[in-house]
Each structure stands twice: as C-alpha cells, then as structure tokens.
C-alpha cells in the first residue's frame, strides 16, 4: 500500500543511477566460427604437390614424369581431394588400427576434419547456407559424441581433446536470450560484491595491524604479573606456557607483517614505474 503511494508521489523514472556502469554488448559471433565451435587449430595444410589419397598408393606414379605427378597432385585435383587428406590426417592421429573407421575416436576425428573444411568454405563464401547448416549439424553431433565419450571413458576423452586440439565446454543451465536489463543487474551485483569485499579486506587489515602492538603489551603485562606474584609470594597464576604461547603468536605475526609490507612496497614501486 505504502509502496504504491510513494511510487506515485515520487517519480522514479527520471532518476539517474548513481553507479557508473557501462555495459558493452558482446559482439555476435556466428556459431560456425572456430572460437565458438572450439577448434583451436586451423585446417591442416599440405604442400600443393602432395598426391591425392588414393593415387599415392599407386605403383606407377612413383616413377612417373613430373607432368603426370602434377596432374594427380591436390593443387590440380581440387578442394575435394584436399578435404579427404585433411580428414585422413586427423584420423591418423587417433586410429586404433588400420581398418578403424567406426569407433568413437575416429568418428570424432573425421567429423572434426569435415568441420574444419566447412569453416574454410564459410570464410570464403559467408552466404553459403547449405554449408552453414551442415557445419552446425556436425558441430552438434561432435559435441554429443564427446559428451558420451566423457561419460563412459574420461581418460580417452581428455586424450582426444589434446590430440585433435578441441575445446569442450558443458551446456549452460539455461539458454536465455541476452538482455540489457539482466546484464546490468549482473554487473551491478558484481559491483556491490567488489565494494563489500574491499570493505571487509580493509577492516581485516586494520584489525591485523592492531594485533602486533596488542600482543607486545600482553607479553609485557603477563611477565609483570608473574614477577609481582613471585615477589609478593602469592599463588602464581601465569604459567610459562602462557608466555611462550603469546611469544610464538607475536613472532608469527611479525613474519606475516613483513610479507605484507614487502608486497605493499612492490605494488608501490610497480605503480611508480607505470606512472613514469
């Protein structure tokens, strides 16, 4: 009730926010791009005079003249043969045996090769819708295969990430659309957390700096009480252990304090260098 009355009296639409937060909208990155798909390595490169995959097996090509070799090289045979070589190269890295083309690792390798070829196509022809579609489907397929591999064989999963140079990120809890309001809310929350942590740290530093003088005072007081009690022949309440304990605490504090002071000095010198 009160809230509704106050909001109608006090206008809050025109009030400017005190916190200075500038929100920068992250740039849109198409999902076929390597930074989104998780490919850390560009497409494997071969010299243009490399022979096509099947032609290289031939006996006759070994002692054939240069002109014939040139005809059967990938420079001449076209992109299709080049892509076959790319897939083959990636599959060779993880193959179990010579005839292996159906196990999960070789499937992932083959798909990775295909994705990298399609990414190259997309860079050349960004309006190629068919390639974009296939690329996206393959990326999703690979992610699914990696997810399954991770579930039943974690060691192999990590090994394959290293061998093929792929990144794997888990699915987020929700795929919500990016909005200005929500982003600003998150940023403000972070800002508030920063302020709170800074205040807490400052207070901790203040308290810790007061520990040393207090411990010194305590040590002296304990020693004084003990000597007085001895002198007046009263029952001694302060044991040697108490004094030792305080002494130990004081020494620990001194070491800590020294480390802190050095860190401070370093920071100051770095700041000075930067300003110069």
């Amino acid at each position: 009730m009160l809230r509704s009355v106050t909001s109608s009296i006090i206008q809050c639409r025109g009030i400017k926010h005190q916190v200075k937060i500038k929100w920068v909208r992250p740039e849109y990155v198409p999902s076929y791009k390597p930074e989104k798909s998780g490919d850390l390595e560009p497409i494997s490169s071969f010299p243009p005079d490399t022979l096509g995959k099947d032609y290289a097996l031939s006996e006759e090509i070994k002692d054939a003249p240069e002109a014939v070799k040139k005809i059967f090289s990938i420079a001449h045979l076209g992109q299709k043969e080049y892509n076959v070589l790319v897939k083959n190269d990636l599959m060779e890295r993880v193959k179990r045996h010579k005839y292996d083309d159906h196990t999960s690792e070789s499937r992932i390798a083959r798909i990775t090769g295909h994705i990298r070829c399609l990414q190259l196509t997309m860079e050349k022809y960004p309006k190629n819708v068919k390639a974009k579609q296939t690329c996206q489907e393959l990326i999703d397929r690979r992610k699914q295969l990696l997810k399954f591999l991770r579930q039943y064989d974690y060691k192999k999963f990590e090994w394959i990430l290293e061998k093929l140079n792929i990144e794997y990120k888990g699915h987020p809890e929700t795929y919500n659309k990016l909005s200005r309001k929500e982003s600003l809310r998150k940023l403000t929350e972070m800002h508030c957390d920063d302020i709170r942590n800074k205040k807490l740290n400052d207070y901790r530093n203040l308290l810790e700096s007061q520990q040393g003088p207090f411990l010194k005072e305590k040590l002296e007081a304990l020693k004084f009480i003990k000597s007085e009690q001895m002198e007046l022949q009263l029952p001694v309440t302060v044991t040697d252990q108490d004094i030792k304990k305080v002494d130990k605490q004081l020494e620990e504090w001194k070491i800590k304090d020294e480390i802190k002071q050095q860190a401070k000095k370093k920071k100051r010198s770095v700041l000075l260098e930067d300003s110069e």
Binding site: W23, V24, R25, P26, E27, L40, E92, R93, V94, K95, R96, H97, K98, Y99, D100, E105, R150, Q151, Y152, D153, Y154, K155, K156, F157, E158, W159, I160, L161, E162, N165, I166, E167, Y168, K169, G170, H171, P172, E173, Y175, N176, L178, E182, S183, K186, L187
Partner: protein
C-alpha cells in the same frame, strides 16, 4: 521422539552426483529423489542440492558420492560432508568381475580386438594415460558451470559462451 528421528535422519548417508559449481571450497551434490503427489498418487522426480565440505577435494564433477550431514553447519551453505567417492565419473569397473569397462565392453576385449587387426602407434593406451584432470581448465571446461556471455570484460572467461 521427534528429536530422535531428527538425529537418526542426520546420520543417514545420501547418494548423489557432483555437479559443476563456482564455489571453490565446497562440492555441490545433487540428490535425486521421488516425491509422491497425493492428488495424483504418482511419484515425480525431485532434485535436491547440498553443498558439501570437501577439504581434500576428493570428488570431481560427475562423480557419484556418499554424503552425510555435519553435526554443525560449517557456513550458511555448507551443511554436509563428502564421505567417499563410490563411482568415479567415466572410469567404470564391472562389479562382478572387477574388470575395467569402456561403454558396454571390457577394455581387455577391445585391446585384444585391436591386436588382431594390428595395433598402431596412435592407439590410446590406458596404462600410459595420466589420471583424470590434466586437461582441466585447458581444453576441458566442465568443472564450473557455463553461462551466456553478457559483457565484454578485460579478461576473457572461458566459461562464458
């Protein structure tokens, strides 16, 4: 009576799965249970999340672990502790024979098959493989939850998608 029941409930062990979390000094455990809907007389699944004290970091994301309530709450969040890891994630052992398994087959059988075809140098070797976690934070980003990228920061967070 009620107090005894509460005490007994506290001693119960719970079986749950470790899920990714941003908390550095605690593990987040998901316990799956079935809850009876009295109107429909049907059971529906219900997830409960517990933050567990795990000082030696024995459990990693995905592990199935046993947890128990602490006698006193450590913090506002941390109420349980991790007792033991029952099934490590992605490292399955057959309970009957005690042999290691990959998916639906024994690793031995897979290796024997590979030998028949002729083993290559590129074959993955389980004996030489380092324990899980050597790619964590490098190429394998699964220990923390991922989120939609909402701002351009100076430092690029790999967990932002």
């Amino acid at each position: 009576m009620a107090r005894n029941v509460a005490d007994a409930a506290r001693k119960f062990l719970l079986l749950g799965q470790c899920v990714p979390t941003v908390k550095q000094n605690a593990a987040k455990i998901r316990v799956k249970r079935l809850e009876l809907d009295e109107n429909l007389l049907m059971y529906f699944k219900k997830d409960e999340f517990f933050y567990c004290h795990d000082p030696s970091k024995i459990c990693k994301t995905g592990d199935i672990v046993l947890i128990q309530a602490l006698p006193h709450k450590l913090t506002k969040l941390i109420t349980h502790e991790v007792k033991e890891v029952v099934y490590p994630f992605g490292d399955v052992t057959d309970p009957v024979t005690g042999k290691k398994v990959a998916k639906e087959r024994y690793r031995e059988d897979i290796e024997a098959e590979t030998k028949l075809y002729g083993k290559l140098d590129s074959t993955f070797d389980y004996n030489k493989a380092p324990p899980r976690g050597w790619q964590e934070g490098k190429k394998d980003f699964t220990s923390k939850p991922t989120y939609t990228k909402f701002h351009v920061f100076d430092e690029n967070d790999p967990y932002a998608i």
